[in-house]
């Protein structure tokens, strides 16, 4: 390893960091566009809060909790702040892939994503203070603990020896976070949506699902394109170096899966619902991106297309199922991040260079453990908030808009398109 290569690797990782940062704008725009005008300030405020608070919490203890070094495999902590060691900025830190600083900031950008996923699902009815409290705890504790189990070198990475099983496989595999990031957010989103209940007007008295169209589709589409761009950093950076073969393969599989996801989602929703719905197209692209994230470095281009295609169909079915279960997810976050996150993680055992029944079982066990841990902890955190602070805004506030009551502001002052 030469100094030049070290520098190159580190530059690539910092570019990827910037791309992942940009995804937060993508989420903000997507959520804004798919919800109503009267709740726009509220959505934007939550998204601003998540990235700012997320980074600070990750600095305080999240990073140390997620990457504790040598630990018992379940829970470890490396100290508050950023305890950079002697080798932090030398080749020795990560085989020349990046420095300690890059490591922190790249991982920090990831951390806030899990709470962002929840933000879209609970939009238009959650109390701002309740959401902020929840996201601080979830990003500060739950996300890093789950992350340490695999990326931090914990028990999921060597599950066969941990469980005393004789599997051929090395352990659970999740390249860039179909489960560790997207499902972790997705499980919390599911629990939150159940505890919160649906928005007023989402279901008729007879229980029929009603449409509450988003107010700005161009903004939402811009969000999807920005997310796709950001995913080059999300997956490309998860190579953890500028390895030419792997980074370029990852960009190919990521994009092919996104494209295939979009195409299959729009075709299946058009056949099913008889209209070319651009919001389903958008969710399909995102489903493809989430689906390939666990195995972006393992799949061939053809396999990535198959994963994208199946993810796109799963998104359309899941959006419909969630509606039938009387759950209200305004932006489709559960369909995209939870359903496709689980599928993308399972598919490691079906396609790609690690495929096999043992790997499939390990993936399944990993998914179940994380599902249990995330949903129980989300339930406890949100349950306590519900009993004390309250989760939901008042009826009056919901009808007149969170912007007016929580913020006392208009998103489009002087631009009156619509009075609520």
């Amino acid at each position: 390893m030469t100094e030049d290569l070290f520098t190159t690797n580190n530059v690539w990782m910092m570019i990827c960091t910037a791309l992942v940062f940009f995804m937060h704008l993508g989420f903000s725009l997507l959520e804004t566009g798919l919800t109503r005008q009267k709740n726009t300030i509220n959505i934007l405020f939550k998204n601003m809060f998540i990235i700012c608070a997320g980074l600070m919490i990750y600095f305080v203890g999240g990073f140390s909790l997620m990457y504790p070094g040598e630990f018992n495999g379940i829970l470890g902590f490396n100290g508050f702040g950023l305890p950079i060691g002697e080798d932090g900025v030398s080749i020795a830190y990560a085989d020349g892939g990046y420095t300690y600083w890059t490591d922190f900031i790249f991982q920090g950008m990831f951390a806030a994503t899990a709470a962002t996923i929840v933000s879209g699902a609970v939009a238009e009815r959650i109390r701002l203070d309740a959401f902020m409290l929840f996201s601080v705890i979830y990003v500060g504790l739950i996300y890093p603990i789950v992350g340490s189990w695999h990326w931090g070198g914990g028990f999921l990475s060597s599950m066969d020896s941990f469980l005393g099983l004789d599997f051929e496989s090395d352990g659970f595999y999740d390249f860039a976070g179909s489960t560790l990031v997207h499902s972790v957010g997705g499980w919390a989103a599911l629990v939150a949506v159940i505890l919160l209940g649906a928005r007023k007007g989402k279901f008729s008295k007879e229980g029929k699902s009603l449409a509450i169209p988003g107010h700005n589709i161009p903004i939402a589409v811009a969000g999807v394109f920005i997310l796709w761009l950001g995913w080059f950093g999300f997956n490309g950076g998860s190579v953890l170096s500028a390895d030419p073969a792997l980074t370029s393969l990852v960009l190919v599989t990521t994009s092919l899966s996104a494209a295939a996801g979009g195409i299959s989602a729009f075709i299946s929703s058009t056949l099913w619902f008889k209209n070319y719905d651009v919001t389903m197209f958008m969710n399909g692209v995102l489903g493809g991106l989430v689906g390939i994230t666990a195995g972006a470095d393992l799949m061939s281009p053809l396999e990535s297309i198959i994963i994208g295609m199946t993810s796109g169909i799963i998104v359309v079915i899941a959006v419909n199922l969630i509606d039938r279960w009387k759950l209200d997810d305004p932006v489709g976050a559960i369909a995209v991040h939870l359903f496709c996150g689980v599928w993308g993680t399972l598919v490691i055992g079906i396609f790609g260079s690690r495929a096999g029944i043992d790997q499939f079982l390990i993936q399944l066990i990993g998914i179940l453990i994380i599902a249990l841990f995330c949903s129980v902890s989300a339930f406890l955190i949100l349950g306590v908030i519900k009993k004390t602070l309250g989760l939901r805004v008042s009826n009056k506030e919901e009808m007149e808009g969170l912007d007016l009551h929580e913020h006392g502001m208009d998103a489009y002052a002087d631009f009156g398109l619509n009075d609520h």
Partner: protein
């Protein structure tokens, strides 16, 4: 003088404007309105079909001298009609007086 108010389809507005110009009705005001009517517009959003009875239309207001009334109304009917439900309505009412602000002129002179 008469005030002619017409609620028409937005998609017919350009044709109506041309037709009015052709009969020398060159001045009028309009604005966009939302109303409730017989027409239902079918939509599908994320797999959920819904219909909206909130209908978008354009509201045109023309003040003309008495001898222009019939001609204007007939022109509006011809230009704004598609034959489907939702083509709109026309209302005619008396106008007591009109003034031109710049010169202070009143009566028919003021509306031409």
């Amino acid at each position: 003088m008469k005030k002619i108010e017409a609620i028409i389809r937005k998609s017919k507005f350009d044709e109506v404007k041309e037709a009015l110009h052709d009969i020398q009705v060159n001045f009028f005001s309009y604005w966009d309105v939302t109303g409730v009517g017989n027409e239902k517009e079918g939509h599908v959003y994320r797999g959920v079909a819904y219909s909206t009875s909130d209908i978008q239309r354009r509201y045109v207001v023309i003040v003309v001298s008495d001898d222009f009334e019939q001609k204007t109304v007939q022109t509006l009917i011809n230009a704004a009609r598609t034959g489907d439900i939702g083509d709109g309505k026309i209302f005619v009412s008396e106008v007591k007086q009109s003034y031109r602000i710049r010169t202070g002129e009143s009566g028919n002179v003021a509306i031409n």
